[in-house]
Symmetry: C2
Subunit: 688 residues, 2 copies
Amino acid sequence: MVDTVVRPAQPGSRPVAAEADDARIDIPAVTRMLLGTWADIRLEAREMIKDSAFWRIDGLSHHAHRERVLEQTQLLADAGAGARAYPTEYGGRNTNGGNLAGFEELVLADPSLQIKSGVQWGLFGSAVLQLGTKKHHDRWLRDIMSLKIPGAFAMTESGHGSDVQSIGTTATYDPETEEFVIHTPFRGAWKDYLGNAAVHGKAATVFAQLISKGVNYGVHCFFVPIRDDNGVFLPGVGGEDDGVKGGLNGVDNGRLHFDHVRVPRENLLNRYGDVAPDGTYSSPIASPGRRFFTMLGALVQGRVSLDGSATWASGLALKIAVTYGNQRRQFDSGTGTGETVLLDYAKHRRRLLPLLATTYAQAFAHDELLVKFDGVFGGTADTDESREDLETLAAALKPLSTWHALATIQECREACGGAGYMAENRLVTLHQDLDVYVTFEGDNNVLLQLVGKRLLSDYGKQFTGKDARALAAYAVGETADKIFHGAGLRRLGQAFADLGSTARSVELGLRAHDQQELLTDRVQRMTADVAGRLRLASRLSPAQAAELFNENQVALLEAARAHGELLQWEAFTDAVERVEDEGTRQVLTWLRDLFGLGLIEKHLAWYLLNGRLSTQRAAAVSSYIDRLCARLRPHAQDLVDAFGFEPEHVRAPIASGQEQARQEEAAAYYAALRASGEAPVKEKKPAR
Amino acid sequence: MVDTVVRPAQPGSRPVAAEADDARIDIPAVTRMLLGTWADIRLEAREMIKDSAFWRIDGLSHHAHRERVLEQTQLLADAGAGARAYPTEYGGRNTNGGNLAGFEELVLADPSLQIKSGVQWGLFGSAVLQLGTKKHHDRWLRDIMSLKIPGAFAMTESGHGSDVQSIGTTATYDPETEEFVIHTPFRGAWKDYLGNAAVHGKAATVFAQLISKGVNYGVHCFFVPIRDDNGVFLPGVGGEDDGVKGGLNGVDNGRLHFDHVRVPRENLLNRYGDVAPDGTYSSPIASPGRRFFTMLGALVQGRVSLDGSATWASGLALKIAVTYGNQRRQFDSGTGTGETVLLDYAKHRRRLLPLLATTYAQAFAHDELLVKFDGVFGGTADTDESREDLETLAAALKPLSTWHALATIQECREACGGAGYMAENRLVTLHQDLDVYVTFEGDNNVLLQLVGKRLLSDYGKQFTGKDARALAAYAVGETADKIFHGAGLRRLGQAFADLGSTARSVELGLRAHDQQELLTDRVQRMTADVAGRLRLASRLSPAQAAELFNENQVALLEAARAHGELLQWEAFTDAVERVEDEGTRQVLTWLRDLFGLGLIEKHLAWYLLNGRLSTQRAAAVSSYIDRLCARLRPHAQDLVDAFGFEPEHVRAPIASGQEQARQEEAAAYYAALRASGEAPVKEKKPAR
């Protein structure tokens, strides 16, 4: 790894414990850990985007930015980067986890490029691959992979985003001509916010209510050509440009509507539902509800990949802010040693290091998610249960990591002051581009609600065979904990081994197994509490039951979040356990402790109110975090360097060593001035 | 007020208490309250910016945006809006509070216009007015007011932002020619991030170390011409464009540097320090430190006005998101009443209504700040003590309100989903533009540290005349509270009258006086705790003392924040007390309770750990907040309408009634379809 970073001496930040002086992380080894299972594909992608042709240029009009990103997407296609997830018989590499790993790295080049290519190959092309069958693959996949057919993924409508089942677009089968008639019946049913729709798309995978013989078979997906080779809308197709957005302005989002547009019967992507020439509907999945969720589940990769992208973007922001914070000085401490390095301020490390700990946790959790995804989509572990687990896992992790990215990038931007506001230093545009990651590919709160419902359902399964009365008793009683323990909830974590006997982090009754117990306990208790309050729902009217659920919505979302946090903590802990190098293990254990205790501090009131922490132990949490921040401070640069970004990935002038060089220039100026004997003297203080 | 907002029926959100059915706020009366002391000038400004010539246009290049904003600023000048704060003898209106009130409203038109005009008249012009004397006023004020001389405020340098005292630019007096030589000795001393510097500025108020006869008299301000009438840099002056920023791209920020640029002796703005022709320095303020802070204090209006601007921007975001949340529906509740309005979801009101409560608190606190500012700068209450109070107050409120604006705008953006990400709906650009409000005009953390030091100093004054031993005893003892009580800390709040006997909000031991006690207690206890831990500093070496202070930095900043929150709470409470209309008083009391309890919930762990709340009372806080949100939900639209924004101020299509109209169109379509007898039937569920 090329590394231009200067590591200044860090006066005044000696770690508390003596052992900290010795411990150092093995940076390349940690980089390898963070890169995860598909490290080779990540490095391949990083090598490719060192070419400035892939970089974002600030200040382009959204029109110019779109054209640039289209060209970049063509470069990706030419390099085969769009083909990774596709079957080898079409020229692909048939790697699912690896494909997403490589895709995620594009966030370092330009998030617009990431999303543009994600629309093309992860959504539009993926709909053809996952929802279509061989005839569709033969006909379209090669042209999709090569970008000969740029396409839009036309699911969301102006009137329905999260609730896809209620979209208004219809696809009515006409047996006379053996065609589907795609139609937009009212303004709210316009397809909206679609990448590739405003300008570049030549076709779209359109989701619509499939109607045949007077029956609505629910939402299905159709391949619909939308523009001719001159970029002009085909007859019956219309649209609008979404215009300027908060970010991702290199993606041409737009709206589409259809006025009785006819497509051949074969354009129904028919893997999960088909219509015979005479209009008879058939499906391998009898239940309309299960069929719908299976179709949607086939498209889970979008949210899987956002979890990783958000994590790397957080890492990039921290690399920039920590590097700058390690060089920038402001205010004389009054001790005669000159101005203080920002990261030596207690507040500065308190604002950045916990974010770094969370980013590490996410990276490890994400790799486990990718492995799970690869197993399901690669077919080695493709069962109904593992698909459901994958969807729950993605729904639990994507909200946490995308929100974390926004919080982290913003804190980094503020920690860099005015310099952080300059586009050239990347933090502001990174925030703008990633902003929508929290609401697209599944709104974060909607996803957490899915997780919450899964928690409730897993909780309920513990009582299968028991009568309702028993359930009620358990739900409200203390014993619920024990019954719940060991349930299907935790899928990520491996068997837990206590680090306490060897790790140096043992103090104050807040060691690893205490952290795990507290985090696990919270998920269980919160789930049990909500379940207990909801148990009366079956006796209520639908309206009252809905109101009861609504009253518990906030608590359920919080339980889901706690579940995601636990998964991240466990992934981090598992990763630390795999480390053999002593110094690395020591430092990463502190970092894991910072993550775990940070979660406990965030929810400290809950732990106190629920009697899970004594006031004494609780009071120790914050001061322990302060000490951990001080301990980790000398390792901050190593830990961000371990993300493995090269100068071509970082690019921010403030993280280039420029700041350090300027300070040295200023110091040399003052030194020369003093040596010359011509330095102005200070004004005398007035006599009192 | 023109109001196009539809108020749909709100099923399922009946307030808990019966009295809520009757209470309604008197919207125009609340608008009047929120507009505050200078309502007339605010309304005048709002009327002016209903003209689309003042509106932001999305998607302009930063070059085109800058030219548009320059033209808009000229329109302001022509309308006399730039003259309000200036003396009547130069054609001004000599109103200080009113000037800022009008200025703040510009955030509704385009924050770039606000900041461009703020640079011209609030910083550059204000430096001439506040730091200069009559000769400077006579020479330059009219041209500054008319925008004939656009100017930059050249204080910050690349190497020094928060620490102005350490800037590197020098102004060395040459008695031979009776000139100052302005010089930039190294790259870190380039002036940076200056509005008007990249393109439009013809002059700058340059802050530099004043050196005469070999003595450095510290930072002073000089009027320095920088460009000729053709916009070309004058000899010795150079600069660079800061380029694209995270927002405010209608302001041409840039860098300036000076190579031995000579200006006449008279160009020193000499109100607080002068140099005679022979080079003899004199100042009405003998202490260099006090002189420096007096000069900087003369420029406090920037941060005062940001407090108000951030508050109105938060109000605008909430107006958009609440209006949309009151119309947008998503997901059928399963009760047969159709899709649920977003704001009927418990999570949705929990994410928006507490932000609304805080915005109200800020509006009331801000008006008190403006009154204070007007008293000091208008001369009716201009003492050293009131100046110091004003600076502390501004330093306490500006961080809270600017951070709140970012949090609020972001939450509103997310609450509007994909629509919220479209620039036309304003939330994203509002966030981008206001982002830098948290770090400019005083970095928020640096300001809070000032407040914290003031708290410590006020705390220390309680012990004047007592020996160190007694101080130590007090600092750690329980009695510290009592001694501290009634200290100079609280300046905003009036004598408190318990609302408990009349207000309906009395429940659970969390009524108004409990809130006040808890909030006050926290400031006192945290300050006393930090003071107690710092009391040993005098016995330590400078390095150890600095380290001890550093260890307490996070806690001190937290105490400062608590102080600001208390001030806001008291201002809100004072405002509620002035209300005579029963319904208005009732609803605003709930809103104030939501604000107060929200603060207590945020710091609940602290209250539990410090024994200030029993677990029973603490457990009641969150559920009480949930009930308050449910109670306030039917008033949400009224409360955002009371900000008094007209359609020309809101402009977001999603808040225009468009959403409601689309839903009605869809509903009519489905109703007609059902009536026609041709509606497709639902697929039959498979037999089990």
